[in-house]
Symmetry: C2
Subunit: 331 residues, 2 copies
Amino acid sequence: MAVYTEVGDEDLAGFLARYACGAVRTFKGIAEGVENTNYLVVTERGRFILTLYEKRVAEADLPYFLALLSHLAARGVSCPVPVADRSGALLGTLCGRRAALVTFLDGVSLRRPRPEQCAAAGEALALLHRAGRDFALDRPNALGPAAWPPLAARIGPRADEVAPGLAALIAAELDAVATGWPTGLPQGVIHADLFPDNVFFLDGRLSGIIDFYFACTDALAYDLAVSLNAWCFDVGPDGCHVYDPVKGRALVAGYERVRPLDPAERTALPTLARGAALRFLLTRAIDWLHHPAGALVVPHDPRDYIDRLTFHRTVETVATYEGDATARGVA
Amino acid sequence: MAVYTEVGDEDLAGFLARYACGAVRTFKGIAEGVENTNYLVVTERGRFILTLYEKRVAEADLPYFLALLSHLAARGVSCPVPVADRSGALLGTLCGRRAALVTFLDGVSLRRPRPEQCAAAGEALALLHRAGRDFALDRPNALGPAAWPPLAARIGPRADEVAPGLAALIAAELDAVATGWPTGLPQGVIHADLFPDNVFFLDGRLSGIIDFYFACTDALAYDLAVSLNAWCFDVGPDGCHVYDPVKGRALVAGYERVRPLDPAERTALPTLARGAALRFLLTRAIDWLHHPAGALVVPHDPRDYIDRLTFHRTVETVATYEGDATARGVA
């Protein structure tokens, strides 16, 4: 959430001269996106986001991301649309970074989405999955199950600095994933990071989705499992994160209004949700353990995902996510 | 240049409900201003900057800053204009911080201003001084000469970690200030931080001035001396900062088009410029020595101000700033 690369007015003018977007009226670094540098650029012809890709995004993946945004936008998904320069290129270079200009989306992200907003997020996720069906490119999920053991190894015994017992919990979960991870589920383009920060609302309606830089090809239901973790937990009075079945039911129902889950996906959902919680727990624990003292950007607390993971371990069937208390397993 | 306080959508809506600015359409943290947290807020009724004042700005000074902006704007200075809430208040509270809503200014700041842009900055500074003449409030310069010895004491012997010999240079300059600082010069409202980052240009013309959070009552010519340091040095091929008399002449001439300097101010300018260089050298050296390792925001290099200070020590009369080489003292 910071500007990693400072762009001067002359560099900007040189870059924008390649586009037919007119003269610049406003240029401001914005704190959006953890991975990249983003500027708001207002020109005579419209409002844009200029993104400079920093080292955490692999340059080889950029054509995938930009082609995906163009593809989804052409199929009605409200997402940033890459703007082609006069030569037709979507990707340029600015201040030593690969850089792209995309359209600006109005709207405000929600810190505590209500159930009807969870439903809107679920529906938008399914529409995204549908719009991605005929996307030609593939990108493996670099943070999928195969990546979790090496991530866990980077944390190692320091896991217990995050929370006592975490090393054992991670080891147990890696075992569970190794033996029980579902295969053969419907695959396609997934967003893989559909948190409330990445969804804008305007006038009470979902107005756009941003930050596609984890998008990849994976099980569609895994994307829903990521969103269950991201949208359907509340902070309880003790600071712990507690599952809200009203929100979960709304999210799943919103999704199924567009794309009903098949039986295998419904069966797999608890395992997928555990895996998704583990994935964010691992990356957040790494950021937590490695962030410099006194840094301005304080990483997300990984313990929020211990709460989630602990909950998912008690869930046996999707009915629990939908609020059927009788379906809950033994805690 | 970062968002220190994260504001959620509900907090924002609660804050803005006190204003007649309509519903929010866009809300983005922006990387502007070193001291405070700033958000771009676009509503149905216009574009605004929401500022949350962080600990480096004294709360007792906020009424001064906001009244000054209102005063200057009413006299034609293009600066952010504080927006009053429905009760008439310019200052509110948000997320535990004092906060204000001000109007948004279009324009882009320049990394390497050309002479005609230096002239425009000088003219705008004089117009600001003129517009401030009848401002009723006073604020002592918290970073004026009386503050420099304690700042130097905070650096102490570590000055030589910044550059060998710096401790001795600082000591010599403090002595020079103690004996030779001019008194009795015309006083008034000064910006005290008119760097190119704080001046916007649009369509080739100066379009606005921002960041008044060092503004205070002090010698008007000291403000010009700050700007001489900020606008009129170029980076030479060896990385050193070299005075550009064409820019200096343009800046002073631009200023004098509106407000001619009196003889005492002209005589004092070299001393004022040395003092201004020392002031930024001291605060930058402190930030440099105390910034956390690995922090995202890298402080300005204090050595840039050693170059400036070293130059000013060779200047005997204002004619040198204006490009008269025969007036230059012995280097």
